[in-house]
Symmetry: C2
């Protein structure tokens, strides 16, 4: 398939869906809605995709993300590391004519198990587009944060940390949740959390938030940023060595927070355009399809 | 006050209340109910204690635990480390004639904050009763697990870890909660978790539970014990050095789990009778009151 041929790229996650009309490798139209896979009734995928194609002139569709999971339209399975973009393209499933779903990537060895679905297109796309080197450590902050080791342009291995989910769990349900008021930004409270997690383990540091509140050590409104610093700091410290360069597929607040934490942990953060990476990756996959 | 004089000792926590009639340092009658402080209406403490005293022949009462918090009857404050049993007795508050409430203990330095309330009686009682040495590391597993360093019979310092609360949070609310079926015991799955946490950080190890389930690496029903092993193992590894002896104020399942984790982490666990420790501690405090 020519890389210039127009198509629809869909990044279909658990709670959101984004669709791009791509021509000559450029996005010429975008749709975004909250029809994540959890909002799709049983058997509802073919009709939703048909509607989408009507709006986009019947172009062929290449989809990535949870739509390819066992709760999505069709389980596209996983490509084992080291995973190349060619292996992803070769593993695409086609539930119907004109629709391709990209598989996820897994680590599946005797000693370790890890899975990703959706992030692989960004990771391989970042390298394909020259936004990250072929040998690099890439980080995609989120609910389930991915840290991928790229070698020769392939995903050689990766680690997922439940950093974002843990923050949400603590805020909503933990005893310290009531202390976690206030906005999170990359300021002094956040940085204090990143520093603190170098000296203590997470289970003790988290209870310390309660104790600091009881004894008046921390101002009300400062704990959410501090806990964010503890979690993101722990995540970064576990993953990077001094001097390590990290290519960060993030923008906005998460880019700010992870950049700050990586720097405090002794690394160097380089922010990469995650949307451009996705578009480059999915366009490359499309060009490899028959 | 003579150590032989009869009195009522009350261990009044957040969700439970235990009352003991103690004569000559021995428990001669026990009551246990679910009238923890959260179940007591505003202003309800005097009447509840009066009823209790009627059932126990009007004896004087010495109380410890959350009844002395700012959500209890009367805030008894905290004694700062190093805390002796004499300092606890000196810090007792008396909201009414015949009723004494023991203060908690805190770490309150520029760099650290930590608090306990209720556990201090057990800790100091264990040493007072000769159940633990005057210089020892004591561990009290629970929702908020306490690790206390005893020196010359005083609580020299301590660390609280939210180990138990984290397990409950994950089981009830996390994505991996649906994987956390099965009973927890100190068997092979638990031990595997304790081993695993030596090589990886908690945020990554916890997501690994999800990945192992997706890829079929772990049998359904094994994940709850594995996660318990990850958490308790992380807690123990952060607190003990090789060869470290730990006196464990626990019984039943928690004693089994912590004994196993301490042993795997290279330490040596000695189980101590926590009820006998409480009775010894509160009796000693009573004997020091005017």
């Amino acid at each position: 398939m020519s890389a210039a041929a127009p198509f629809i790229a869909v990044d279909w996650g658990t709670t959101n869906r984004r669709a791009y009309r791509i021509e000559n490798g450029e996005v010429v139209a975008t749709e975004r809605d909250d029809r994540g896979i959890l909002a799709v009734p049983a058997g509802g995928f073919p009709a939703l995709v048909a509607e989408l194609r009507v709006r986009f002139d019947g172009l062929p569709v290449v989809m990535a993300g949870m739509v390819g999971s066992n709760r999505g339209w069709h389980d596209a399975g996983y490509v084992a590391c080291a995973a190349t973009i060619e292996a992803l393209a070769a593993g695409v499933v086609t539930p119907e004519e004109g629709v391709a779903i990209v598989p996820g990537v897994c680590v599946d060895t005797k000693s370790r198990a890890d899975v990703m679905r959706g992030e692989e297109v960004q990771l391989l796309g970042a390298v394909a587009a020259g936004l990250a080197p072929a040998d690099a450590l890439l980080c995609q902050p989120g609910t389930h944060n991915k840290w991928a080791v790229m070698k020769h342009g392939a995903i050689a291995g990766f680690t997922t940390a439940m950093t974002g989910e843990m923050f949400a769990l603590l805020k909503a349900h933990a005893l310290i949740g009531s202390e976690m008021a206030g906005e999170v930004d990359a300021g002094a409270d956040f940085r204090q959390g990143v520093e603190a997690c170098a000296d203590t383990d997470l289970l003790a540091a988290l209870f310390g938030v309660r104790a600091a509140s009881v004894l008046g050590h921390r101002a009300p409104g400062a704990a959410a940023a501090y806990v964010s610093g503890l979690l993101i700091g722990s995540d970064c410290r576990a993953r990077i060595a001094p001097g390590q360069q990290v290519h960060l597929l993030a923008d906005g607040l998460l880019a700010d927070l992870y950049s700050a934490a990586i720097t405090i942990a002794g690394g160097e953060a380089v922010v990469v355009d995650s949307k451009a990476s996705f578009v480059a990756g999915i366009t490359r996959i499309r060009s490899l399809l028959p």
